[in-house]
């Protein structure tokens, strides 16, 4: 499960940025096509945050939908998974959204 490594990395990064200041909430953006499962990150977060400035903090996660643009017909459409097929029949699509993996903000005490 790669989400534990990823969640530990998030906690390390935020703690470095806050220089030890305690936080009460953390907001992440995890796109629906990112390959990272938000529920798995939530599962890992309390363990990863234990003993750090993020201990006990609330975790908020926004999940942008997948978006794609067809290179053949330029149609833009919503994408629910990585098996991308445009209505025109082309599989040559560029993914334009849903792959986000960002630390947005924290609320400090």
């Amino acid at each position: 499960m790669h989400e534990m490594a990823i969640t530990q990395s998030v906690v390390e990064t935020v703690c470095e940025r806050l220089e030890g200041a305690p936080a009460r909430a953390l907001t992440l953006e995890i796109g629906r096509l990112s390959g990272v499962v938000p529920d798995a990150v939530r599962f890992c977060f309390d363990m990863a945050a234990d003993g750090t400035a993020l201990a006990g903090a609330r975790l908020d996660i926004t999940e942008p939908d997948g978006r794609a643009r067809c290179r053949a017909c330029t149609n833009e459409f919503r994408l629910d998974d990585l098996i991308a097929l445009c209505g025109c029949g082309s599989a040559d699509v560029e993914i334009t959204g849903g792959q986000e993996l960002r630390i947005r903000s924290v609320e400090v005490l």
Partner: protein, 298 residues
């Protein structure tokens, strides 16, 4: 706490150098090191090749955090600190450092990924023997435990480093960096990185490699590209191994090809048998075409 399931196993990744000519079994290996965690050991997505490369927005990720301006409609107050940092930025930076290090030396680094048992190590044994006369080859082996694969490669006469990830399910850029520094590959050579056998996690972590190769054996089933789209979408090349078994299996090659095209229309696709040698010339040609220009080597 381990980095995978939160158990109390404190062991991090371990790196072992396997020397050609060392005795086969049963003695302590002299160069085993704990891989230090907690500094420049983060995880990253890659950029620049493969469909899974994340588009990163503006990075404001340095210096002191800025407090956001109060905003009446957002509910934010002066206690909200806007960070806007990529989750995987640290690994991305380390991967790019690896890529620059390899480019400076004209080294081709191939990240080999697959499920366990697809034939990665068999393919590498043969590749070392048959490509070796033209291109110097060394290998970084990633497994949760044991030195078995590195010793198999060492028996072919090539330099090999084994990275044991313990509970970890993938290699990352920090592990590759430590492996490269231990291996010290020659300029204008090829380094093969055999990732941990897993069709999920390794797809998400850029190592700084030159190219990504996914191996899928025909015994695994023709639907794998649809079941594991992140992995197949990230590939520059898909090697379909054990093709000599096709007459004995209910494997629809056309369906497999169609599945690959649906998740990664731009990927190269080669059918091989690492055990019998079929199709390996096309693999070696593919590698030769990607060797960095000798003119850039110092």
């Amino acid at each position: 706490m381990c980095a995978t399931c939160g158990c109390s196993d404190p062991a991090g990744p371990r790196l072992t150098e396997v020397h050609p000519g060392a005795s086969e079994h049963g003695h302590e290996h002299a160069h085993e090191h704990e891989h230090a965690h907690g500094h420049e050991h983060a995880h990253g997505h890659g950029h620049g090749h493969g469909g899974l490369r994340h588009r990163h927005g503006d990075e404001s990720g340095h210096g002191r955090p800025a407090r956001s301006a109060p905003s009446a409609d957002s509910g934010a107050d002066e206690q909200t600190v806007v960070l806007e940092e990529q989750v995987l930025a640290k690994n991305d930076r380390l991967a790019e450092r690896n890529r620059a290090w390899l480019d400076e030396r004209g080294i081709l680094a191939v990240n080999l990924m697959s499920s366990p048992g697809s034939g990665k190590t068999t393919l590498l044994e043969r590749t070392v023997r048959e490509l070796g006369p033209d291109v110097p080859v060394s290998v970084i082996e990633g497994d949760q435990e044991t030195l078995i694969d590195a010793e198999r490669l060492r028996a072919t006469g090539c330099a090999a480093v084994q990275i044991n990830t313990g509970a970890g399910c993938h290699l990352d850029a920090a592990m590759l960096e430590s492996g490269l520094h231990r291996l010290d590959p020659a300029p204008a050579s090829a380094v093969f990185v055999e990732n941990v056998g897993n069709l999920v996690c390794p797809a998400l972590f850029d190592l700084g490699e030159s190219c990504r190769v996914v191996i899928c054996s025909v015994t695994e089933g023709a639907d794998k590209p649809l079941k594991y789209p992140h992995m197949f979408r990230a590939a520059d090349l898909i090697l379909v191994n054990k093709a000599d078994l096709l007459p004995h299996l209910d494997f629809d090659a056309d369906f497999f090809t169609d599945c690959v095209r649906r998740v990664n229309p731009g990927a190269d696709l080669l059918w091989i048998s690492a055990a019998r040698g079929e199709g390996l010339d096309t693999w070696y040609t593919w590698l030769h075409k990607r060797m960095p220009d000798p003119a850039v080597t110092s």
